[in-house]
Amino acid sequence: MIGFLVRRILAAIPVLFGVATLVFFILRLLPGDPIALMLAGAPADEETMNNLRQQFGLDQPLIMQYFTFLGHIATGNFGQSFVRSEPVMGMIGEQFVSTLMLTLASTLIAVVLGAVLGVISAIHRNGWADFVIRIISLLGISMPTFWSGILLILIFSVHLNWFPATGSGGFSRLVLPACALGLVGAGFIVRMVRNSMLEVINEQFIMTLRSKGLSERIVMYQHALRNALIPAVTMVGVQIGELLAGAVIIETVFARQGLGRLIVDAIMNKDFPTVEGAVLFTAIVYVVVNILVDVSYSVIDPRVRTSN
């Protein structure tokens, strides 16, 4: 197990180096002058602009800027934001907590709702419950989150006044955005669980369990679901990545703090160090989540453990 972990972590280094290099050059190849954007539409003379360029090291040759950047990240320093004169690491830390809460809450909603509805749907295959659940899952997948987000605000915040529409921090502010995001994930997981449950139900060990006289509930939830969960767990790993990305829109709609908004605003302002730091950080999170997913297989399925 430890050998496996070490191998996976070593393999992640070239991935992160690639991400860092790509984001560095893509940012600089895209049109637009960060200094001009920094002025936010205010007029400035050449002297002012040249001074700003010099202060931010943008007058240096590209290759020099690249080596300085690599030197920084090798020592764990993501640099200072152009627009805020603050260490990027601190800005990421401040935003990440909120994104993490949102991701965890919506993953929880997606997994619980997805697994429960998926099992019900499989048990009542082609019945009316299955039919309704499949429609709900289709809606969850196909509704754009900005739309379902606004809809949730209109119903539960503007009209019913149950939850605040905006802000971050506190349980009540988490409910609506987590639902908006969780519904999408739930939609996918319902389909995944339903399909793998249907496969598992038809396997011989289920028949054996039933003939032993075990109750249907124990057969379904203790034995069948456990086997059906493996593909769903893979899905969760992918979903967490999706959620990190999808959070951008939800964070904007609900005016929440978050890493997504930090990245989008930084891209708009061409705040190079912030984009580089935040993208690299997101890549690290992706890598870590995927390693965790791999590890979790062996927890759920003892066969993976023994084959290792």
């Binding site: 637009g32 050449e46 606004i150 802000g167």
Partner: protein, 550 residues
Amino acid sequence: MRLTRTKQVVCSLLLVTSLLAGCGKESAAPAPASGTPGTEAKASGGEFIFGLASEPTVLDPGVEPSAAGYRVFRQIFDSLVVETADHSFKPWLATSWEISPDAKQFTFHLRKDVKFHDGTPFNAEAVKFNFDRIVDPKTKSRFAVSLIGPYDSSEVIDEYTIRVNFKQPHAPFMEALSQAFLGMASPTAVKKFGDKFGQNPVGTGPFVFEKWIQKSEIALNKNPDYNWAPETAGHTGAAYLDKLIYRIIPEDSTRVGSVQSGQIAAAETIPPQNIVAFKNDSNIQMLEAQSPGSPYTLMLNTTKQPWDDVKVRTAVMLAIDMDTIVKTLYMGTYQRAWGPLTPSTAGYDPKVENSWKPDTAKANQLLDEAGWTERDANGTRMKNGQPLVMNYLIGTPNREKRHDIGTMMQQQLKQIGISVKIDLQATNAVVSAIMNGQYDMTGTSLVQGDPDVLRSIYHSINTPTPQKFAFNLGHLENQEIDQLLMDGLKSTDLKVRSDIYAKVQEYLIENALTLPTYVFPYTVAAQKEFTGIQFDSRAYPLFYDVAKTQ
């Protein structure tokens, strides 16, 4: 409907109970000196949440260029002078001043009773520190440095007298000085926080910075010692509110919904369709202030053919029905613009009003005269085998429906055989395209109270180049206009200046060098229980007088 009524009853009961409870507590306190029964009493205290559409980058007025920043730091930083609605200047942190006839020396006598939030005394040294800091390259000023212009030095005459010297005449300095961008920051705090001053702003204003939760909210508290409001304010002493919170809500519908449901006290930048609805809402007041400066103005790139030809430019101007465009897109909530300045700007020339009207026949005639007589299969005019195509460069997102202006223009110009291509680009790419001159038409708007804003948009020194982002988008190179724009800097007499700037405004319209569209109204929707939301001369909100009515 029934639910709303029940809620109203519950709310009124709660209100009555809390009022009774409040009365009980306050009975021990001495009776207020003034206040006649029956008049609306102003409640001191309470919290006010304001929905901001975008987040400032830093709250350092010497560095930050954005309007979003201004809307916050105007409450934290005071200025030396305040501009009134009639474009004269009144005392604020300065009690009086003298200006040399050549507009190169400005001497200010300062108030002696002012302290920064951190206890630092406000004096001539502090003013000198502020101006010297803005021009210091290490400050990385993005806008204040432009406002201070040809700054030379500051001399401390005595503890409360300061003289500011300029290398060249700088008449717009008084207007610049009244803006929060040149507001007074505490020298002690600037030295203490260095680069981080923008996250820890300290001024002399009616509100004291408390905290900034990035991407979420900025909280300010009342400055209890505040006693130096300018005479344009509605009262003296400390602000009525205990706490002023800016919540950052970028999404329009969320911001609007938050005011509608009463979760926040007020919100800014209300879309036209919601303005119409809010005007009929009995719980909400709609407040508007017209931005001074340049309206959203379209300009044709005169370095590119055929836009160097005044006949072709005039044809474009005559073919566009601006009244229809503005009325259709903004549902009667925006005013159309007639000239290169908006009506609330000092030196505005009302003669431009009604000076150009749609005339398709005349437009067609001018294009014929200019030699664009052939037509291709789509009806687009041609000359020497080249079609008459106009590329309209515009950025995303669709700010104030500027894309739709392009679409309507496309239909209208088709009538005279000009084909409009709408070139939609991300903001970054628009900046590049402007610096490289890759457009036939594009537009801008600038907020500024002084007519010197015209120099930013029509003087040849402000032509964009691949090294410089500036706003002479028409690439106008006209010595006479350049000279008039420089003459306007030399006198501080508004009458003399207005005459100079009137010539510029009329010339630009006569030669179709500017195509003004709409005047941007800064809009605020607020709960009716709050009074006293004011706007400064640049249409930015002031919260010093805000109170809850009882």
